[in-house]
């Protein structure tokens, strides 16, 4: 059943990573954080990358944004649309970020500038990439905030981040990421810091965005539950490698790799396990 129905799609994947390797040089040799990872994200698809700490999932995401620590040594290829990301000049890469490719981090409270009004922060991609004035960008930010269901956005754009709740801050980050209708959104554990009820709302919002805008989302997480709720396709990472990939149904119903099986067995659940058949 592991026929990749998505491979039958026309055209090319939004994101295509091939043989990605990330090394961190140390005094004695190097630490290999990512080891030959290949993955694809197709248009309108939500792809989950799941792994425990140290699995290399975040490093894979940061490689795509070219935002790894400077001492990291990267090889392989990453293509976003037709662009070979690893070959771009720093200036061209900068033009891509926040425009064709946006990032939603884990901790929205820390990710928002405490001394800048929400509206300016949400609208800033338009200032950076479309030469809008901040005034025009803030009025666009009102629409963006409305689209992520922030109430009274006209008033809220004047607020500073500390006036927002955790869930609202994450909505603002998502609005910022959507500003220029990117081809790909990379989300790194965007709901881990949130309470479950708020998390559920944010996950619903992400699905809604995908359905509405047909944006592709690369979703990094350690939480199998979130993957089951949200993703179409899953990559399981362990120690820098992808150990298994498949549709979300296949991974959960018929895991093949021992590590995936162990992960599934370890996950606590509200729905008691059935007796062995």
């Amino acid at each position: 059943m592991d026929i990749r129905s998505r491979a039958l799609q026309d055209g090319r994947p939004t994101l295509s990573i091939r043989d990605l390797t990330v090394d961190f040089p140390k005094r004695d040799g190097a630490f290999r954080a990512v080891d030959g990872v290949s993955l694809d994200v197709w248009p309108g698809e939500i792809v989950g990358v799941i792994g425990e700490s140290g699995s290399g999932k975040t490093m894979t995401a940061l490689s795509t944004l070219r935002m790894l620590p400077k001492r990291a040594v990267v090889s392989g290829s990453i293509e976003l649309g037709q662009r070979r990301i690893l070959d771009l000049s720093p200036a061209d890469m900068r033009k891509l970020r926040g425009d064709r490719l946006s990032f939603i981090p884990q901790d929205a409270m820390r990710a928002l500038n405490p001394t800048m009004r929400i509206g300016r922060q949400v609208g800033e991609p338009l200032v950076l990439h479309r030469n809008l004035s901040f005034k025009a960008a803030v009025s666009r930010a009102v629409d963006l905030l409305r689209a992520v269901h922030v109430r009274e956005p006209e008033r809220r754009v004047e607020d500073y981040p500390h006036g927002f709740s955790g869930g609202m801050q994450q909505r603002a980050m998502i609005a910022m990421g959507l500003a220029l209708e990117p081809e790909l959104i990379i989300a790194d554990e965007p709901t881990t810091a949130l309470d479950v009820t708020v998390q559920a709302q944010v996950l619903k919002l992400l699905k809604e965005i995908r359905d509405r805008e047909a944006t592709s989302i690369l979703f990094i997480t350690h939480d199998l539950g979130v993957v089951a709720e949200l993703c179409d396709w899953v990559y399981v990472m362990y120690r820098g490698r992808i150990v298994e990939q498949g549709s979300v149904e296949r991974i959960f119903m018929d895991p093949r790799d021992d590590y995936t099986k162990m992960l599934l067995a370890s996950t606590p659940t509200l729905f008691p396990r059935e007796a062995a058949i």
Partner: protein, 317 residues
């Protein structure tokens, strides 16, 4: 907002009051006798008694303090034990000198520290950062009164560009005033900048490593935009507070610098007061310098609060 200012002002007044108590008590438990230094070592016992009675030095400390405070609040700082001159007007004459020196020194220190500190942080662990840190280490090890001496050696004795000292009011001769001010201001400012460079660098490094700077990078902001739009304001908030306190801490050096450059300011007034054990002079001078420092802290603190929306809101709530 108004509440914020009022709270800070109240704190300022309270601190100033407490400082006056500390200074008064410290100075009035001086073991050395004021009478002896005023009247000479060979003064008779009666003469000393008469002197102490005349200046009220034989009464309880609390009474003396209350009276002194009462008079000060009316602008009367008493008369010098040494020469009977009224302290208040003399202090008033000296204040502008020290104010000018302090202002110049603070401006010089910040002009050096802010760009260098920010630049070092931006080039963290690169050549520029190492050079600036090295410079700060060297500057920080130079005693400011030695730097003053070296400046005189070079610019006065060798090059003969600048006068060795003295003071001319700016209104009387602006050029002369600046010529006389530049070496004292440099001695204080350059040495203080060493510490401020480190503070600015640390504040900026802190900000540059935050998640919101990473967000700006992920939005496609250039390194310039990141520094100027997203980092400066946030780095300034801790910088200003720490910088003002540290500058104030180092500002006591006016006592030495004014002595070296024969500046008739508050610092040299304090020194005269100490050498002659002239209580009214010493007290008035020390209080004036403390007032300088507290005012600087107050102003800077208010500016920093204005920069920080979290504080403005918290105080209003």
């Amino acid at each position: 907002m108004i509440r914020l200012v009022l709270t800070r002002l109240a704190g300022f007044v309270l601190t100033l009051f407490a400082a006056s108590v500390v200074l008064f008590v410290t100075i009035n438990v001086l073991p050395g006798s004021a009478a002896k230094s005023a009247l000479g070592i060979h003064a008779t016992a009666q003469a000393i008694q008469r002197f102490e009675a005349q200046h009220g030095l034989d009464r309880p400390l609390l009474v003396q303090y209350a009276e002194w405070l009462g008079r000060i609040l009316q602008g009367d700082f008493g008369t010098s034990f040494q020469n009977g001159v009224a302290v208040g007007p003399e202090l008033l004459k000296r204040l502008p000198v020290t104010l000018e020196l302090a202002t110049f020194a603070f401006i010089i220190a910040n002009l050096i520290a802010i760009p260098l500190g920010a630049w070092a942080a931006r080039r963290h662990q690169k050549g520029a950062d190492r050079s600036i840190t090295f410079l700060a280490t060297i500057l920080g090890a130079i005693p400011n009164f030695w730097l003053a001496t070296l400046l005189v050696l070079v610019f006065t004795l060798t090059l003969r560009w600048l006068p060795p000292g003295g003071f001319t009011p700016f209104t009387a001769n602006p050029m002369m005033n600046l010529k006389q001010m530049i070496m004292p201001a440099l001695s204080l400012g350059v040495v203080s900048s060493a510490l401020l460079i480190r503070i600015m660098r640390a504040s900026m490094l802190e900000v540059l490593s935050t998640d919101y700077v990473r967000t700006a990078e992920a939005k496609g902001a250039s390194s310039r935009t990141i520094v100027f739009r997203h980092s400066m304001r946030n780095a300034f908030i801790p910088y200003l507070n720490v910088a003002a306190v540290e500058f104030g801490f180092l500002f006591g050096s006016v006592v030495v610098i004014e002595d070296i450059f024969l500046l008739p300011g508050v610092g040299s007034f304090v020194l005269v007061g100490i050498i002659n054990r002239d209580y009214p002079v010493l007290l008035a001078g020390a209080l004036a310098i403390t007032l300088f420092v507290l005012t600087l802290n107050l102003v800077v603190d208010l500016i920093a609060s204005l920069l920080d929306p979290r504080q403005v809101k918290a105080r209003n709530a």
